[in-house]
């Protein structure tokens, strides 16, 4: 994962949606591990957008399957 600070804040945002209490890592998969449905993902995305003051376009989401991929995307959007 690119940026430890981003990862730490991202983990904190994901924690409320981590119903199974998994140990989060860069490889944690949103659909397979966290079993987030598409509507829950939307809520999480809105929280991530606010945390970093970015827009995360919906067209980007299909490529973001793991926590590490989201962290990378945040870093890129933050510029």
């Amino acid at each position: 994962m690119t940026d430890q600070a981003i990862a730490a804040r991202l983990f904190a945002l994901i924690e409320p949606f981590n119903r199974k209490g998994l140990a989060l890592s860069a490889d944690t998969h949103f659909a397979n591990d966290l079993e987030l449905d598409s509507l829950t993902v939307m809520d999480l995305v809105a929280n991530i957008e606010d945390e970093w003051d970015i827009n995360m376009p919906l067209n980007m989401l299909p490529d973001l399957e793991t926590v590490g991929q989201v962290a990378d995307a945040v870093a890129k959007l933050k510029g």
Partner: protein, 397 residues
């Protein structure tokens, strides 16, 4: 061979599990005969219809039916093609003229459904390099329009003005932007704070499209929608609507005063690469739209019965999705899928048809019994509906 349908196994199991509890299929209701805008025979039983979008009760209007019959005789059963390629029929122009009068706009484009109207408008207006900013609770046709477009798609939290403001503020100032809103949100029946949302959109230089599917005929002085009621006619660039609800037939449309609007007909795939409405349907729609221009009594009655239903269900202890009756959609909240389907089933056994709605049609975690009335319902009907809700609940123990 990899079976492409195997990815739906979980869904198939869930659906059969639901039916195994002994309930009727909430997604497979058959209207065996339709007696009127408010009654049909379902499972052999005379059932009160409390879950259609026949808001203005126009489906059996004698003038509407006569116009359709005449056009069926005059023009035949189908349009057999696209208007761009295979030709326009006079009734298509008739209904577009009626829409221009109804909305007071210079242009109206009719699509084959409201779904296609949103699909076509959203995907064609916003292209590569543009931004679409949509409410999180937008109808599937708006989301699908976003998928079909090459624009960047940004979502804001439902009806949240500050959230829209923030997201618009993060976009390049000079980029093309389309903000997509709905007057009435069809799941909970809540209306949008359009004044504030539209003001924010305009401040950031965005164009605004409002889908008024669930407001036509009974919001605003001319029945144009929530945007008219809130005095926003000068600020909304495009209005999308449907014939499948208040108009009582099928079809969709977009109206606008934009001087270049008509060119969309030649560019919009969901308009040009599909068959136009059958002329008879266009003729019924025209007759109905013209009657909706002067339907003051129907409109007053629709509001009266909708308010009475909301008040009656609330007084009977049901938890309502909106504190007050904001639209003609009166939704009851239930805790989960099992209890919602059980109550829905009991209502049908008590001769009440309403809609069972669940995610993803509804927001996450929300299960609803959605009621929608028609101008053809009476206050006595409402009393009967409430008492059957109470009886259905009692029979669940």
């Amino acid at each position: 061979m990899h079976d492409l349908l195997s990815k739906f196994d979980g869904f198939i199991a869930e659906h059969s599990g639901l039916l195994a509890t002994g309930v009727r299929d909430p997604f497979g209701v058959v209207m065996e005969r339709v007696l009127s805008p408010t009654r049909a025979i379902i499972n052999g039983r005379d059932t009160m219809l409390v879950g259609t979008y026949n808001y203005m009760g126009m489906t059996f209007d004698p003038d509407v039916i006569a116009a359709g019959k005449q056009a069926l005789e005059d023009y035949g059963a189908g349009s057999t093609g696209s208007r761009v390629l295979n030709g326009t029929f006079t009734p298509h122009l008739g209904v577009e003229n009626a829409l221009k009068e109804f909305y007071g706009t210079t242009s109206a484009i009719v699509f084959s459904t409201g779904y296609q109207a949103n699909l076509g408008m959203v995907s064609t207006l916003a292209g590569k390099g543009d931004y679409i900013i949509l409410d999180a609770d937008s109808h599937a046709s708006i989301y699908d329009g976003c998928k079909l477009s090459n624009a960047e798609v940004v979502r804001f939290r439902h009806n949240n003005v500050a959230d829209l403001d923030k997201r618009l503020g993060r976009l390049p100032a000079d980029a093309g932007k389309l903000v997509v809103l709905e007057g009435v949100y069809s799941m909970l029946g809540d209306i949008a704070p359009l004044q504030e949302l539209v003001a924010v959109a305009k401040r950031h230089g965005a164009m605004v499209l409002v889908d008024e599917a669930h407001a036509m005929g009974f919001f605003g002085q001319h029945g144009r929608g929530v945007y008219e009621e809130l005095g926003l006619e000068a600020d909304v660039d495009f209005v999308v609507g449907t014939f499948s609800k208040s108009v009582g037939t099928v079809g969709g449309f977009a109206v606008s005063n934009h001087p270049k609007f008509e060119i969309l007909r030649l560019l919009c795939n969901p308009y040009r690469f599909t068959a136009s409405l059958p002329p008879a349907v266009a003729a019924t729609a025209e007759a109905s739209v013209r009657k909706l221009m002067v339907a003051d009594e129907k409109r007053a009655n629709l509001w009266a019965v909708s308010r009475a239903l909301h008040g009656g269900l609330k007084a009977a202890g049901f938890q309502m999705a909106t504190e007050t009756p904001e639209s003609a959609i009166i939704a009851v909240l239930l805790p989960d899928q099992i209890s919602t389907v059980a109550m829905w089933h009991q209502l049908l056994e008590h001769g009440i048809y309403c809609n069972m709605s669940r995610p993803p049609a509804t927001p996450a975690g929300i299960f609803l019994l959605r009621c929608s009335l028609s101008a053809a319902h009476t206050l006595d009907d409402v009393t009967e509906i409430v008492s059957r809700f109470v009886a259905a609940r009692a029979s669940l123990g």
